[in-house]
Structures are given as C-alpha cells and as structure tokens.
C-alpha cells in the first residue's frame, strides 16, 4: 500500500546511502586516476635517472623517519605523562595544546622553521649573500613538531587501554609508578605505540609545505647520512615543479610518476599499520591476566 510517510523515509535512506557510497567513489576515482596517469611513466622515471629514482625515495624515507623519531622522543614521554602522572588541570592544558598543534597550518610551520633553524645555521657557518642554508635537520625539527600531537594522543590512548589489573599487579609487587610505566605499560601498549609511529611516518612522508620551505631544491638529492646538507623529497619536488611544466609534456608525466611512487609508499605504510593494529587486537585478546 502506498504510504507517503514510508516513501519519504525510503527516499532519505537512499540519499544517505548515496552519500556513503560517494566516499568510496571519490577514493576509487583518485586511485584510478593516479594509477592511470602515473603508472605508464614510471619506466620513464627509471630511465630518466636510476640514481634520481632511488635518491628521492631514500631522502623521503630518511627525512620522514628522522622527523618521526624526533616527534616520538618528545611525544611518547608526553603520552606517559598524560596517561599516568598528570592531574586534570594539566591535562586540560596540554590536550588542547596538542589539538591546536595537530591541524596547525603547515606553511606557517615551514616558514618559522626556516626563519629559526636555517638562518641560525647560516649565521653560524656563513652563507651566500642571497641564499640561506637548507638542511635535512631543519626538516626533521619541523616534521617532529608536526608529528608530535599525533604520536602523543594515539600513544596515550593505547597506554590508557592497558587493563588496570596489570598496573595493580605491578604496584602490588613493589614497583614504583615509573617502573610500572616503563617495564609493564609500554611493552603492553607497544603495538599501539607502533601504530602511532607508522601513522606519523605516513603523514611525514606526505607532508609538503613544511618540508618544502626548509629542504632545498637539489635534483637529484644526495644520498648521505649527513643531516646538514640541502636535499629534496618527492613532495617538495612535485610542489616546486608543477607550475613550471606544462600539461602533457614529458616533465609533467614525470611528476605524475613521482606522485605514483609516493602513493605506493603511502599505501604500503597503510597496510603495515593495519597489520600492526590487527596484531594488537589478537594479542589483546590473549594477553590479559587470568585473575
């Protein structure tokens, strides 16, 4: 029987379903375009210079890993502090700070990083009259600041998720709060912390504006462990290059191939994160106490 009310309900349900499906469509569209435009040019990229190919990937990973480790050096102690030791007042001061730092405009961060780190290095070592010192170290510092909130909040969540009876058992055996945190809580929350690190690494690899301002324009970038050299990463290369080349030229397809490589790297990190998360779920099921 035709019911106007049911028709309205079903229309609304269909509209919402379309919204949900559209998200799949968008991602599918993006991935398909990326693959379609980028994949044929990967061979061009390899031909262009095998050294350039590996140099870019190496530098992207080097900069990303360094930035993530720097963010973890501050973020993980901060997470322990927030989860175990802080009282409500300090939590209500630090958590909004982390939330504001999370979405901070990256172009501003890059500019500030350039103004502080690069110019300081330049004044210390003496630069040229026009330029200033780009370096990987500055990129590490900037990426550390960017990944700090993500690492701190995800690690804090996973430390909080450790069952209370583990803490009580450790304290009951005579350990202090810090010993409990270091030897019991961190190993239990290790997969969560690892997830945080991998997420931050994914963000760091894809970060454009902050790194662009401090990393330089070396093409091909050097393969070295020295952090005081100017270098280049894939995202910065694309951002620098897109306006100078015209659509349809060989160089533009080069950019798409670089984007494709970056996309593949991000996808691999995504899969790694998912594997760690499912490992955590498996372990959490079997890792509780049997009291």
């Amino acid at each position: 029987m035709f019911n106007a009310k049911m028709l309205k309900e079903n229309l609304i349900k269909a509209a919402l379903f379309l919204c949900a499906i559209s998200s799949i469509g968008i991602v599918f569209f993006i991935v398909a375009y990326m693959l379609w435009l980028g994949y044929p040019e990967v061979s061009t990229w390899i031909e262009y210079g095998f050294k350039g190919f590996t140099a870019f990937i190496y530098n992207t990973m080097y900069v990303g890993i360094g930035g993530t480790l720097l963010g973890a050096a501050i973020g993980i102690p901060c997470a322990i502090y927030l989860a175990e030791f802080a009282d409500m007042r300090i939590r209500n001061m630090i958590k909004p700070t982390l939330e504001v730092l999370n979405g901070f405009p990256s172009v501003v961060l890059g500019m500030v990083g350039y103004a502080i780190v690069c110019f300081t290095i330049e004044r210390y070592t003496g630069g040229t009259a026009t330029g200033s010192f780009y370096c990987i170290l500055a990129a590490w510092i900037v990426l550390g600041i960017m990944s700090l909130p993500l690492i701190a909040s995800v690690s804090e969540d996973s430390i909080r998720a450790v069952p209370q009876d583990l803490r009580e058992a450790s304290l009951g055996l005579g350990a202090t709060k810090w010993q409990t945190a270091l030897r019991v809580l961190i190993p239990s929350a290790m997969s969560g912390i690892l997830t945080a690190l991998l997420l931050a690494l994914g963000n760091a690899i894809g970060e454009t504006m902050a790194v662009l301002a401090v990393i330089g324009v070396e093409t091909p970038p050097p393969i070295t462990l020295n952090p005081l050299v100017s270098s280049n990463v894939i995202t910065a290369m694309i951002a620098n290059g897109y306006e100078e080349v015209s659509w349809g030229s060989v160089s533009f397809d080069y950019l798409f191939a670089a984007g494709f490589i970056l996309f593949v790297m991000t996808m691999l990190l995504n899969i790694a994160t998912r594997t760690v998360v499912s490992g955590q779920n498996r372990n959490a099921g079997s890792g509780g106490t049997n009291l």
Binding site: M34, I74, F85, I94, A152, E207, F263
Partner: protein, 425 residues
C-alpha cells in the same frame, strides 16, 4: 604563595622584552653575517641566566626532601640575576623576564611533583625519569606558545589597520614596492583573507552534507557488516593520501583534464572537499555512535519514524561532537596550501577591491600568499633585505593563525558547552 603569584604576574608582563632579545639572537633584522663566536656568545649570554635557575630548581626537586627549598633557590637566582643586571653586568631586561618565564612555565608542569625517597633502590633515576616526563609536557606547551609569540613578534612591524582591511597593492612598474622610500606603499591582505574564507566555505558546502550523510548512514541505517567496514577502509585511505597527490589529481580532473575548468574556485573547493571529508565522516560517526541506545529506543517508543528519530533525538545528542569535527575540518582546510595552489590559487594579488568571485576564476588565498609572498615581493625590489620580505609573509601568517585559533577555540568551547547542555537536558 602570594609572593610567587606576584612574581609570576610581573614576570609575565616583563617577559616580552627578554623574549624579544633572545629571539633577536636568532634572527636579527636585516641580513648581517656574524662570526660563529659572536652567535655563541649571544646565545650563551641568554642562557647564562636560565641554566643556574633551572639547575637549582631541578636539584631542589630531585634531591632535596624539602621542595620549597628548590623554589627558594630559583627565586634567589632570579634575585642575583636582577642585582647583576642592575649593576649592568648583565642586561637586566633579559635576566629577570627569562628567569621568571622559565619558572612560570616549569611551575605549571612540575606543580605536584613529588620526589621519591626510598632506601632500597636508586632514587635519582626514578626522579630523573619523572622529571624528564614532565619536561616533555613542558616542551609541548612551550612549542605552541613559542610559535605564537615568535609569529606575533616577527609580524608586529607590519600589522597596521591598513594592512588588515585594505586589499589594494601599489604597483611600481612590474612589481610591488614596500614602504621603503621608493614611492611605494604597503598593501593589504583583506582580499586574500576573503578569498580564503570563501574557498573554504565553498568546500564545506560540498563536504559537510556528504560527510554527514555518510556518517549518519554508516551508524544508523546500515547493517554492521561488510559495507560499513568497506566504507571505513576507504575513508581511512582517503585520510592518508598526501595532499600533493590530491592536488595532482585535482589538476587532472578539474583543471586540465576531465572538466577543463581551468584553475578555479570550483576545482579548488572540490579538491579541498576531498581533504576535509575524512574529518567530517570519522568524527561525526564517533559522535553519533556515542549517543546511548536509550535515546533511540525512547523515540521509537513514542511512535517516531526512523528519520524523525535520527533528526530529532540522535543528531541533537551528537551535536557537540559533530560541531567539533566540522570545525576542526574547517580549520585544517583553512591551512591547506598545496591543494589550493594547484587547483584554485597562484592567483595574482588582488589589485583593487575585493576579489571577484567567479566560478571559473582563480581565487587568491591567504595560504598561497604566505607561500609566494617572499618571491612576489622580491621581484624587482631594491634595497630590501630578506627579512623585510618575510616580514609581510609573517604578518599574513599572523592573520591566518588568528583565524585558525579562533576556529579551534570555538570548536573546543562548543564541545564543552554543548556537551554540558546535552547532558543536562
């Protein structure tokens, strides 16, 4: 207690010149090359005062049983520094504020620090570890405050009423001229600010209904099976895609390729919507899921249909989380540069009046201005130091940060206020 409060308040007021001095050690206005020894002397001078105060503070907390001793020692160091400054041995505008500022920030994080005193294991390691943990919290706060203060200080010479409200730049030949005596005058960024807000508004018009619809469908209507986890997987993937790639795809779809719109607000808005969608979907879905089942059941018991339940009961209860998510997405879209530059920006600066908003025209944006300003302003400019060019960029960055902070604060306040209201209702 009263003395410490007095000290903190006066220190907060007097701290700014000292902070400026320290910052100047890192970034002198005008480009001057100094020898490395001079830079080291500069920095050492600044820290000569901080380190003893900090050491006394740490020693007092770590090793002494009487915690107030640590405070007294750091205050004593401050007094000594002040006396030295009064006798012009050390620059006192630097000494007093830095000591008090560091003590102030340290107080916040070390307020209830209790050092352990046990006989059966090394207590110093324990206290050092707890100190180090609090230090990381202190560093977090300092990073944000330091960023804000630095941007404000670098921007302050260029922030004038004209800069904030006008959108006219003076051309001098083929380039801009700053107020450097070459018959130029500094322009304003009102056009860029308006452009940024319009672009993000356009993006939110697309992204909010789409994201809300998807979130409502996933949490209310869909059966909790493969479809929802599928959608969630795709949203997570979208969140992880780097912004340059979305920019490249935006170029391919909207600008040059499929739709051939050229650099335009439509392309920019839609590409930004790609980036904002995960924020809208994830946070809103969590907020909707957090609504207790009793709300829905009560509504059904009163005879409401599914959609009526969702609209009147569930969405109202989930409102705080929803608004927070949408506003945070707004803030993140405001700071997006590369996507905007590739699909909607890189526009020439607004010369007169507010930007023309045509759907197929490029639109000037604040973030792209910050990125390009040092280059734009430097074209053909004479007698300008690098810092002058960056000064204008810092001023624009200051405006951007103020807007971003306003959005963040509104989001946080909305979350607190509305959640109280919903719980109390």
């Amino acid at each position: 207690m009263a003395i410490s409060s007095l000290l903190f308040i006066s220190g907060a007021i007097a701290a700014l010149p000292g902070v400026i001095h320290l910052i100047n050690a890192f970034s002198k206005d005008g480009y001057t090359l100094v020898s490395s020894s001079a830079l080291i002397a500069d920095i050492a001078f600044s820290f000569l005062i901080i380190v003893p105060a900090f050491v006394f503070f740490a020693v007092g907390y770590l090793l002494l049983e009487n915690h107030s001793m640590g405070w007294k020692l750091s205050y004593a160091t401050g007094a000594i520094a002040l006396l030295l400054g009064l006798f012009k041995i050390v620059n006192w505008t630097l000494a007093l504020p830095i000591v008090v500022l560091v003590t102030l920030a340290a107080t916040v994080t070390f307020r209830d620090f209790k050092s352990e005193k046990r006989k059966d294991y090394p207590v110093v390691t324990e206290n050092l570890a707890k100190f180090g943990i609090r230090l990381s919290g202190f560093i977090c706060i300092t990073i944000l405050l330091g960023l804000l203060v630095y941007i404000a200080i670098r921007a302050s010479p260029y922030l004038s009423a004209n800069f904030l409200t006008s959108s006219t730049w003076t051309w001098k030949g083929a380039s801009f001229a700053l107020n450097d005596g070459n018959n130029g005058s500094l322009g304003g960024i009102a056009g860029y600010t308006a452009g940024s807000l319009v672009l993000v508004f356009f993006c939110e018009i697309v992204a909010v209904p789409l994201g809300l619809g998807a979130a409502i469908y996933m949490s209310e209507y869909a059966s909790q099976g493969k479809l929802t986890s599928f959608i969630r997987f795709f949203i997570e993937t979208l969140a992880g895609i780097p912004s340059v790639i979305i920019g490249l795809v935006g170029l391919a779809i909207f600008v040059f390729g499929g739709f051939k719109l050229g650099v335009s607000i439509v392309g920019g808005g839609l590409s930004l919507a790609f980036m904002t969608l995960p924020w809208n979907v994830r946070v809103v879905e969590e907020a909707i899921r957090a609504v207790p089942a009793s709300y829905r059941e009560a509504s059904f018991a009163l005879g409401a249909t599914k959609w009526q339940t969702v609209r009147r009961a569930v969405l109202f209860a989930a409102l705080p989380g929803m608004i927070t998510g949408i506003l945070l997405g707004f803030g993140a879209a405001l700071g997006e540069t590369i996507v905007v530059a590739m699909t909607a920006g890189d526009a020439p600066p607004v010369v007169k009046g507010l930007p023309t908003i045509g759907l197929r025209q490029p639109i000037p944006t604040l973030t792209v201005f910050i990125w390009r300003a040092p280059i734009l302003l430097g074209i053909g400019a004479k007698n300008l130091s690098i810092f002058n060019m960056y000064g204008v960029a810092f001023a624009a960055a200051f405006v951007l940060i103020v807007i971003y902070l306003a959005v963040c604060i509104v989001a946080l306040i909305a979350r607190n206020y509305l959640s109280k209201k919903v719980k109390g209702a």
